[in-house]
Symmetry: C2
Subunit: 217 residues, 2 copies
């Protein structure tokens, strides 16, 4: 078993599209545990993800998954609740925590950012002051993650308050398809990076594109 | 002379990098006038742009350029002043007005959006209620516009409150290199589209990329 494979990644909220897809992809390179509020749902998703990835994927309740991991991905569809963050905080001390969270609204046919000013990644970092928080994966199309024949030749903008945290997050990003991690600056830049997702979703919907992502050219 | 060539485009603030580059590119397809607060500067820029494009480029004071045009591009580096918008308003009634404006700050090594909430395009639309306002060109690297050997094979997200205005703006976008106009939704989406520019600039700076733009893939 490679050194990389001994690193344990918890996908908190790993039963949603993004979390499930990341579990499938990351299981090739890491020991992956799918976390959920609901253990039976986590178990079911882990079995499915493991079958696609052809390696074992574990299942745990969110808090237990956080406790056992080296790295956590908060693959939840909206801003995490204070309760969830409080329950995770003591279990994520000095661990890398990746936020792909984009708080969004869909109203009158238009996707937009639902929070004002502060990004999800900044909110997570405030609630987990002892964790190393990075923002990443915002523009990776969730449905394509679980399709292993998709090369995922995209660029991923990564925010983090230090190059060290960026480097750690990059290792996770680069383990997913052909994704190229690019450092986008400190967590304050997450506001701009998170806003790319609703922009992309609007463009996709209005121009009938199939789950587009981005490349810098 | 083609029909297209009879359409008059005023590049308001056409002496800056973006305006100058757009003048060079658009002069191939439209009758272009560079506008400036300062007529001698407009004249100098127009002579330079004309020499690169090898067609005549006119020069006028901003207000006169607006009065004489069919389409105006507000190529100004920051939010337009109320004075400028008031002086332009009566001259832009029922005309297409394109806003490539991205209000930005550069502080502690980080580019960010400097306004909160309302986008530049929405602000322009409010100040020019009788014009057809579209947001476009935000992610096109200004320095590459004046280099005619650059293909500019990029995607351009266009915001507008109707498909009709989008279609008119698309004609202008598509006249610049290989740019592909994509409809991103109403002007309220401009907040998200304008935020892509500082995100790109941070990525460019931190990863030593050469004036990157984006493609949806």
């Amino acid at each position: 078993m490679s050194r990389l494979a001994q690193t344990k990644i918890a996908i908190i909220g790993g039963t949603g599209d993004l979390g499930f897809g990341l579990a499938v992809r990351l299981a090739k390179a890491f020991e992956v545990t799918i976390g959920s509020r609901d253990l039976p749902r986590a178990t079911e998703a882990a079995a499915k993800a493991g079958a696609i990835a052809r390696v074992r994927v574990e299942a745990k309740a969110n808090r237990d998954a956080a406790r056992a991991c080296d790295i956590a991905v908060l693959a939840i569809p909206d801003l995490p609740s204070d309760d969830l963050l409080e329950s995770l905080a003591p279990n994520l001390t000095e661990k890398l925590v990746i936020s792909p969270i984009v708080p969004m609204l869909f109203k009158n046919g238009v996707f937009s950012i639902s929070n004002s000013g502060e990004s999800a990644a900044e909110r997570v970092a405030k609630a987990l002051p002892k964790a190393d928080v990075a923002g990443a994966f915002h523009t990776v199309p969730a449905p394509k993650l679980a399709q292993l024949d998709e090369a995922l030749d995209y660029d991923v903008l990564v925010t983090a308050d230090s190059r060290e945290v960026f480097a750690k997050a990059s290792r996770v990003v680069a383990a997913v398809g052909k994704l190229r991690p690019l450092y986008a600056g400190p967590l304050t830049v997450s506001r701009m990076v998170e806003a790319m997702t609703p922009a992309l979703l609007n463009v996709s919907r209005l121009n009938k594109l199939d789950n587009p992502s981005i490349k810098l050219v």
